[in-house]
Symmetry: C3
Subunit: 152 residues, 3 copies
């Protein structure tokens, strides 16, 4: 596995500052050989990049970009508890898409996160996943992503 920090830059991204939780919890916590990352919203410099429902207010293509932002924020959260070079693999991704009535393209949206993990970690970025369409998300976010990561 190549250095994930270098890979993030190579992909044209910048590892953001860890997003402070919007409530009484922590961004990520280590338990044994796993890091559990809290549900990440598509925050950019302290504000949601977009609000609204996917399939009406927000296009699926834009929502996919937002899912990549959630994934970057998840990596920032992991980095707040352990060096990303200690990541053994991304284990499980949970993808929640605030969905307009009749929008059923959640998998393509959450691919924004899955593909980022694949690009950053290669084979170690291949993960199990569940993607669902929910009624509402915190602060009106269109997408939320949580992650379980295996670490050394």
């Amino acid at each position: 596995m190549s250095d994930p920090y270098a890979k993030i830059v190579e992909l044209g991204y910048k590892l953001p500052s860890v997003v402070p939780p919007v409530a009484a919890y922590v961004p990520a916590i280590r338990s044994g050989n796993h890091v559990y990352v809290s549900g990440q919203l598509p925050m950019v410099e302290g504000a949601l990049a977009e609000t609204g429902k996917v399939g009406s207010d927000v296009s699926p293509e834009r929502a996919k970009e937002l899912a990549a932002i959630c994934a970057l924020n998840a990596l920032a959260a992991v980095d707040s508890v352990i060096n990303l070079n200690e990541v053994v693999r991304i284990v499980k991704v949970g993808g929640f898409v605030a969905s307009a009535e009749g929008f059923t393209g959640q998998p393509a949206v959450i691919n924004g996160a899955s593909e980022l993990f694949g690009a950053v970690f290669g084979e170690a970025g291949r993960h199990a996943r569940a993607a669902v369409g929910v009624a509402e998300l915190p602060l009106g976010a269109p997408v939320e992503v949580d992650v379980i990561v295996e670490v050394r």
Copy 2:
């Protein structure tokens, strides 16, 4: 624990082929002594057995059958990474039911999955579970089930 493969046949089921992910992830992944199974839809030979919301388009009874199909697909996913005889226990089931307004019978629906795991694994099939009613599911599926399995 009797042989789960024999038990599946005895129950009148057939272990399906593993359902290819509808996006950039894998059906199941092993991390330490656990296998994390991706959210499984009620796919039968490559197509959804049913689409629509439970409580309007799809009856709760039919949705329970669909949850059993999800569970079978989950076992196929586990089987793609480890022999089912290596299963120590089913640990956690997540059940997502695409719910019509006012439909609150999610537990009985997800019992379709829980009872299948109980029938196949006996005592080792008893698990923790969360069942919720979501707005929309991928491809219009009425039910989605993900699973965490402890393995030898």
Copy 3:
């Protein structure tokens, strides 16, 4: 960490009896050094303390109290498999809020659970979390909470 049982009483709460599952699963199960707790509803002595959607039928303030009841029921479920003094840390909280159209205050609602864990376990109560707004919950519950706990 002070004795969690004493702390619960000191906070003015009473550890409830474990809530029997509403379907074919168990309240909590141990797997390795973790206890997985099933999705807990705000049941009080066998009945839901409240039903309806948060943001219309149920106020966010009341929903926060209901989330604390879910958290207490989760501790009762943990206690059914292991002494609470064996808890190393609360690892992950999943919060599901049955949300009226346009209600986006899920984090403040689920704080009811997060703050209770913090009050009972102190530093060991700090956890990762995902909070989402769902369409419907079992039996019409306004809130559901599941938990992963690390144990000795």
